[in-house]
Symmetry: C2
Subunit: 526 residues, 2 copies
């Protein structure tokens, strides 16, 4: 049913070269030193106050308008169990439509925890969700994958595994936000089992599982519990995987997503309620209107999670953007996207809930457009006070493609941001009056003791940026950022090593996957 | 002495095709509709409070440390006249070295106007310098120029003129910040005459003149006065050109720059005092130390301008960055650059003086690196409260090359920023409750009256970004952002038309250039 590729036997992307311990060394000889310098894996904190794109009064107007939407128009909850729970909680149900009292929403969301720790199987990889922390997630859910050598192709397990290796090796990435590319050569009934086992064995970072019906999310919770080596009670106290809940905008929440909210909340695991409100398509053409819709859908999901289990961890997702006026296609990293990202953060803070945004672009190739749309997205997200930065590394084509090269570029951008967010040290030592006295007018600082003592660590050192002068760069074959990132991606994948895992845990994981596979996996008629 | 190329006879970049009025039409047929949609030329205001990278105490520590530098180490003023003026003002002069009393600096900079209008020969092109306005300047002073078709080549008048045409046509660009590329085929003695006449006749936007000795800057002032058609008295009241003053860091101000400060201040024209403090080279390796040096040099220049003429318009320039640790080459758009840009703005605001920063990158080709370094630079500049955004369009290679394609890309980025800075409208109309009532759960907004009435103008429409799906993009030949920008650059240049100029003024300009050329132009032994 699944392909026969396993993490252990495959570490090769192009051609049929056998994967061995020597491969890295061969690569090393060809491409230079094997070890690529990266800043260490570390948690990122944002010391800056968020930007406010609307006034408090305007924010209140958006909030009140979304309560009016929930009260007068309502939201379609497609899962009967969800409607039953909301009816029992006193809300008006009419067919699939649920209409909410304003006060009910405001009251229920008060039980949402403002922050929580997301546990990885390696505690050194734990991260905090909320406050001023930024959790960086790898791209998720792309149907296609591309690299410079192999071009664009449908998702498959081999590329999936190599992307997981990159996700493990790149220190910029804290968390897997889903499958970096959809491994469509694994049958849908067991894909969640195989793919999550791959991630959990090939990486020791925290993970995501898809809310595609109750069985899949239950399997995901169990796989993560086994990988962490903890009991169910401890799991319930310790968020250890998360799931993105996309509403079917406008104003609709689908079966499998609602099952995800219920199952995750009951298990004490966090969901991120993310409406996809594309202004001019699934949402009003005005940014303010799209935000009203985003907020109505998010509030409905947030309140519902607390109906299921008061205190369940949950986050507010913002994904509002606009369409291309010429084609109707989604656009990202636009001025409208940036403003929506800022207001999304204002709303999440109003509700005292962690905030999710994304590093998005709509380019077809990792070129200048891809980069500027990405940094504009990051600007909106970071200045909007993002806590969960989804699709932070590798996202292309509005999410339709995972790029190996873009992942390396994005990792550099994220590390630059992390360095930018590090506070500037101002003290007698850094003010450097003595160094200026030493050097004096017309001198040069390179040779001073002050410089020599600090030179190697003074500045952020990127992987991709090439700062050689034009002549040296030309002599080296004029490699652009895409070419350099392709070489780096290959070398980084070659650097991957399986993180240690207790053999008993590995055995238990395999046994669980085998048992569930034997049972036929999960239904495919969702 | 100069080449025979004149703005009127040459409008061709590649090959020898004669320039005629029909050329634009031919281009139009070849490349599609002639008119490229751009947002209109307009002034840009930044409604956001600036980011503060250091606390008030830390800012004061940087300020006080730079006063200590000025008091104890001092600055070399290479021009005797400048030293004489400072000695007369009571400061300690020892050889070339001038040491300043702390109180003198603080007192003198108080007479700097917090803002001023920069007048263009077309009053519709006037801009404000200071407050929360952002003035966007084209790239200046690159020794080389490049485009996709012709590659990289030394600066020359033909490319210079085509870049001036782009500067005129691109609505994102408010002001010429100098020569977009150095027209080295014009003899240095008359280059300032020919180049400024080109800019003043081919464009109606405000201009810059180089402080390369007294004669050149005096010629520049006179050329601009003639082009504006005003008398000397009116010129003195109305800033009508500006000049960048770079200190020769560390802690030195050179002859021609000081002559520029004196001549410009006496004529009521603004200078921008911009130290080039590269941490680890001409400045301490710590960002805080480099900022102390930047601030000391800037304060010396600012105070000196007010000694020359109290109330003379002048701005604070920040250009602190770091070197590449591997090569010693300048790097831009780095985390250190961003932080320095933020603190530069904090210092300028402390002194209540307009603030200059730049859109900088160190890439060798307009690729993803160029774009992300640019947007990181813009982030630092805009969030730092920049008033004069130098090198905003076209800068490459740390300033060593002007790129036609990058200029188009940057124009798009600047327009995106301008749209981002436009306040989000939140009112009953944009909150769109009626539209949501119309559409309801599961519907689509495209067909609603609310959408149809706003669709064409709802979103920012970029020139370069390609948002087609991958298949359509591939069918179109997979053009990346560089390729698309090259085509746009050609079309935009073809769209250029000479802005109207009174024939009497044109005659006066030509007569002045002829007279000064006959006199031998300006000395070339500076």
């Amino acid at each position: 049913m699944s392909t026969e590729v396993t993490p252990e036997s495959d570490s090769e992307r192009h051609g049929g070269e056998a994967a061995t311990g020597r491969r890295g060394a061969r690569r090393g000889r060809r491409d230079g030193p094997a070890g690529i310098e990266q800043p260490p894996f570390r948690r990122i904190f944002n010391p800056y106050p968020p930007m406010r794109a609307v006034s408090d009064d305007e924010l209140e107007a958006i909030h009140q308008a979304s309560l009016t939407v929930l009260e007068e128009i309502g939201i379609d909850f497609l899962l009967p169990e969800a409607r039953d729970r909301l009816k029992a909680a006193g809300q008006r149900v009419d067919g699939e439509r649920v209409r909410f009292d304003r006060g009910f929403i405001e009251e229920r969301i008060r039980t949402i925890p403002p922050s929580f720790t997301l546990h990885a199987r390696n505690p050194a990889r734990n991260v905090g969700v909320g406050g001023n922390e930024i959790v960086v997630c790898q791209i998720a859910s792309a149907p296609n994958v591309s690299d410079l050598a192999g071009g664009r192709r449908p998702g498959n397990r081999r590329d999936f595994q190599n992307l997981v290796k990159l996700g493990q090796v790149l220190n910029a990435i804290h968390v897997f936000g889903g499958y970096p590319v959809e491994p469509v050569d694994i049958h849908p009934s067991v894909r969640h089992l195989e793919a999550l086992r791959d991630i959990l064995t090939m990486s020791d970072k925290a993970v995501h599982a898809y809310s595609l019906g109750r069985e899949r999310i239950e399997d995901g919770i169990e796989l993560v519990r086994i990988a962490r080596g903890v009991g169910r009670e401890q799991m319930e106290r310790e968020p250890s995987l998360f799931s993105i809940i996309n509403s079917s905008s406008p104003l609709r929440l689908d079966y499998p997503m609602l099952q995800g909210v219920i199952t995750m909340a009951e298990a004490g695991q966090p969901t991120v309620i993310t409406p996809f409100t594309l202004a001019g398509a699934m949402a009003p053409v005005t940014v303010a209107g799209a935000l009203v819709e985003q907020n109505a859908e998010a509030l409905a999901g947030l309140a519902f999670s607390q109906v299921v289990k008061p205190g369940a961890p949950v986050a507010y997702g913002g994904f509002t953007s606009n369409v291309d006026m010429k084609s109707g296609a989604p656009a990202f990293g636009t001025p409208e996207y940036m403003k929506a990202a800022l207001v999304g953060g204002q709303l999440a803070r109003r509700y005292n809930v962690p905030y999710r945004s994304s590093n998005a672009n709509a380019a077809n190739v990792p070129d200048a457009q891809a980069a500027w749309e990405s940094v504009f997205s990051l600007w909106g997200a970071v200045m909007g006070g993002v806590n969960i930065l989804k699709h932070a590394c590798g996202w292309m084509e509005g999410g339709l493609c995972a790029s190996f090269e873009k992942m390396v570029m994005d990792a550099d951008m994220v590390q630059m941001l992390a360095a930018f967010l590090d506070p500037l040290v101002v003290d007698d030592d850094t003010l450097a009056l003595e160094a200026m006295r030493d050097v004096g007018p017309g001198g040069h600082f390179f040779g001073t003791a002050h410089t020599q003592a600090r030179f190697k660590t003074a500045f952020f050192a990127p992987m991709v940026s090439d700062w050689r002068n034009y002549e040296s760069w030309q002599e080296a074959g004029s490699p652009d950022a895409l070419t350099r990132s392709a070489a780096l991606s290959d070398r980084l994948i070659a650097e991957w090593q399986a993180p240690p895992m207790d053999p008993a845990i590995r055995e238990e994981l395999d046994a669980f996957v085998a048992k569930r596979t034997e049972q036929g996996g999960a239904p495919t008629d969702f």
